[in-house]
């Protein structure tokens, strides 16, 4: 595909990444984190596909999804900062319920949780960000490729020398 025919991927990636990052950063909703990233990449692919005059390739979807993953990791980390105390309260309630049924939890789990919150240095934040970015890029790329497959297909014109041929045939006859 001609590079000039490729629309910008940044805006869809920002939108998809922001949506995925916010949703994955919110307590309780974060349980579906993996699906939020893939869902954000699907959203970005559906937005980007509208601007394509030709079919999105798997490579386009992968690049778009990877960008979504990076944006989502940053947004998720930023959203998580103010919500951390709320997250802690919810997690404590959840752990209390779990501890009623399970003997696996260490006796000092409350202290350990509080200690984890107190370890909030910039180094921990950055380490967390890097880990999230790596994982989210892989998941985002996967979502972007699936999105390209689901939303990025453009049908070729019914008539013409390339009808029924490769999927990179431009939708607009003026491009052929």
């Amino acid at each position: 595909m001609n590079q000039q025919q490729k629309p910008g991927l940044l805006v869809p990636a920002l939108i998809g990444g922001a949506v995925a990052g916010v949703l994955s950063g919110i307590p309780l909703l974060g349980c579906l984190c993996c699906l939020w990233i893939i869902g954000g990449a699907l959203l970005a692919a559906s937005l980007a596909a509208k601007d394509y005059v030709v079919s999105m390739t798997a490579g386009d979807g992968a690049v778009l999804g990877a960008l979504v993953g990076i944006v989502a990791a940053v947004v998720d980390s930023l959203v998580g900062l103010p919500l951390q105390s709320l997250n802690l309260q919810l997690m404590q309630r959840f752990m209390e319920r779990i501890s009623e049924f399970s003997s696996e939890l260490p006796g000092n789990w409350r202290d350990l949780m509080q200690q984890g919150v107190n370890n909030n240095s910039i180094a921990f934040f950055l380490l967390d960000l890097v880990i999230k970015a790596v994982v989210f890029v892989a998941l985002g790329a996967l979502g972007g490729i699936i999105g390209a497959s689901l939303f990025g297909k453009k049908t070729a014109p019914a008539a013409g020398p390339q009808a029924g041929g490769g999927p990179d045939v431009p939708k607009d006859p003026s491009h052929s």
Partner: protein, 163 residues
Amino acid sequence: MRTDAKARLVYGLTLAGTLTWLATLVLAPYLRSRGVRLNALIYSVFAPTCHQLPLRSFHLWGFPMAVCGRCTGIYLGFLAGMLAYPFLRRVGREDMPRALTFVILSLPMAVDALGNFFNVWSTGNVLRFITGFVWGTILPFYFLAGLNGVFVKNDGESGTEQA
């Protein structure tokens, strides 16, 4: 580097990464059972992608794996898809599976997850594993298509749907 060699390299590295990923899932409970503190780092790596609830996870050496039963199924399904890939299609292709195939393989997991989410039913870890496994088998066919599109770039064979 020739296109075929590049494609094989992409496949090989993805397979190696998948095996490493799966080994890490097993390593986490093992290290925890041995009291090695590195286990906390492994659990935290997987934390952004999974709720890691002990009740919904398989246990090894007395401790939960690094991800839940459904995620374990997805990752093992991914490995199964990776191993089946060279027998089903040429390594290096950029075209992707049909949308209908994706929908059919996603349906069991989607139905199971929605039923559990809305408390219509509560399935055990084995069924969660199986539905995740089924979904995971299709994922390498997308993932490798994307990697091939970025790193291999077969001229004239890119596209969105397989024959």
